[in-house]
Symmetry: C2
Subunit: 324 residues, 2 copies
């Protein structure tokens, strides 16, 4: 056989070290025209895609490549967690400048492999090509027991509003990264949360399985923007309490509220529960805090009850690449 | 509700006019965290992704936007056809410069909708963001009856090698487009084949269902490159006959062989059949020619038997974005 072209070699390099996890759901993976996947009986398939682009979502000179690998998969898996499902396999679509073929690619694949193992989500295929920028698009295929998927549209008046974890920490991490020179490492909690977010798969699955929630989504673009989406899908409004917001300790008081409301990249879960369901919720799940931050209302607007007793309208001011 | 941010508006614009096809397989589509999809009983799921990038795969100033829409989906569907499956739904991932939000996007979505209807492949979701270039990645989800998927790896010595349709026409179309000024239209067969390729879904399905083939893939990067991939996956070689190649009539004699061997974007099917299977094959399927172009051999190399009686080694010289 004549010397094979370089695209084939790159596909082999990418495939190495990614193995399925023994459940046999990916029958044919990388190396054929397409992957063949078999969902388990009694389950529905969850499909989601996410861009992760140099210059928009990460900076080649500042983000460690293994964080790019970890985060590109973790972000997409977070959408599966937000439906109450579990991830099963993914398609990796990546474009590479030739300068990134060596060390950058190795470290990127290292981070991606760690995420793949930690999240039990195996590589099934994808597409590679050459560009002068690193562009990543990941499609995650997940599954959820039939009828258990939690949508954004089930919130009703009187339901209580919850978030997992703390809010605003990843935004602080991003600001620390922007101020730093050269590549950063995850030397503290905010940087860790920005570089290596952990999608809340176990919590989402537990909430869905036990039918503890009426609506759910993940907070990726900031609470104010994502809550507006949940309320729009449900045809409701919400009132949230400033005093109730779970703000992480590392954030300065003067910035804490703004980061918690509008900061991106938290990958926490935002969900609603009826009062009966709320009684069955704990204040934490395996150590991860669960906090009631407000309630669903019928006027279709978002309000923030401030610590000083005033109420103000909360506008979506989180991450939106299309905002002028 | 406060004015919703522009990303939401764009998602609505994209979703409009794409409807499922009444089979109910996409239960939750655009508008939630992820799509929910239910494969039919007794079927396996096919997963495939394809890049379609401005500057690499199309030129904004020359390719009509509705061709970009059509072709970005048709290319990905061709991988499903190559497994013997049928497409069911797709995820559209697109980045847009602000200058492309208006007329370009409308025409792009028009072409994509036409392809979606013609190929019976409904929009299930995806991701949008802002970039200064138009970047498209499409994931197609298809299905195939359990055990019927045709892989690249089943070719054995003595099997006969076939292609559908004609070869090299799309390459001629690309050259005509490169020479033209401004946007082109599909005014002849080569331009039509380059701008609006038709994935061979019906043929692939028929071949798989009737177990007429031992290996199959689509020719997207050129016969010489794709045949090398099929042979590598099967651990075999091949001998093809120059005189047998189905060259379309519009191609000049001096260029015909080169275009047929190395031209990209044909989206024809390349497949192998045992002698017994080959006896059951017709010379066309619903008017689409099926041509025997050679046979599978055990020396692991590709040979071309020329019209003058000589044999020469055939090197993969089709499209490879990673070749130096």
């Amino acid at each position: 056989m004549a010397k094979l072209c370089r695209e084939n070699e790159l596909v082999r390099k990418i495939s190495q070290g990614f193995r399925g996890f023994g459940d046999g759901s990916v029958r044919i993976g990388t190396g054929d025209d397409a992957a063949i996947w078999e969902p388990r009986k009694g389950h529905e398939t969850i499909l989601t895609s996410d861009w992760f682009l140099e210059g928009t979502h990460f900076l080649r000179e500042k983000h460690p490549p293994d964080s790019v690998g970890w985060k590109s998969l973790a972000r997409a898996v977070s959408d599966v967690a937000a439906m109450g499902g579990r991830p099963r396999c993914f398609l990796l679509n990546v474009t590479l400048p030739s300068a990134s073929d060596g060390g950058w690619l190795d470290d990127f694949l290292g981070g991606l492999r760690r995420a793949s193992r930690a999240l039990r989500c195996s590589l099934a295929g994808g597409d590679t090509t050459r560009q002068d920028r690193i562009l990543i698009n990941i499609t995650v295929i997940g599954e959820v027991a039939a009828g258990q998927a939690v949508l954004r549209s089930g919130a009703r008046k009187g339901h209580l509003l919850f978030v997992s974890g703390t809010l605003g920490e990843a935004e602080l991490g991003l600001r620390q990264l922007r101020k730093s020179k050269g590549k950063v490492r995850a030397t503290n909690a905010p940087l860790s949360k920005h570089l290596y977010p952990e999608p809340r798969v176990a919590l989402g699955k537990w909430l869905a399985k036990n039918r503890l929630v009426t609506a759910m989504m993940d907070i990726s673009d900031g609470l104010s923007t994502d809550l507006a989406r949940l309320c729009e899908a449900s045809g409701v409004g919400a009132l949230i309490e400033e005093s109730a917001l779970p703000i992480s300790q590392g954030v300065r008081r003067s910035e804490a509220l703004r980061f918690a409301l509008h900061g991106g990249d938290d990958y926490e879960l935002l969900f609603t529960a009826s009062p009966t369901q709320a009684n069955r919720l704990r204040t934490n799940y395996r150590g991860l805090p669960i906090t009631c931050i407000g309630k669903i209302t019928t006027p279709k607007k978002l309000l923030l009850a401030k610590n000083d007793g005033r109420q103000e309208v909360l506008s979506p001011r989180g991450w939106d690449p299309f905002r002028k």
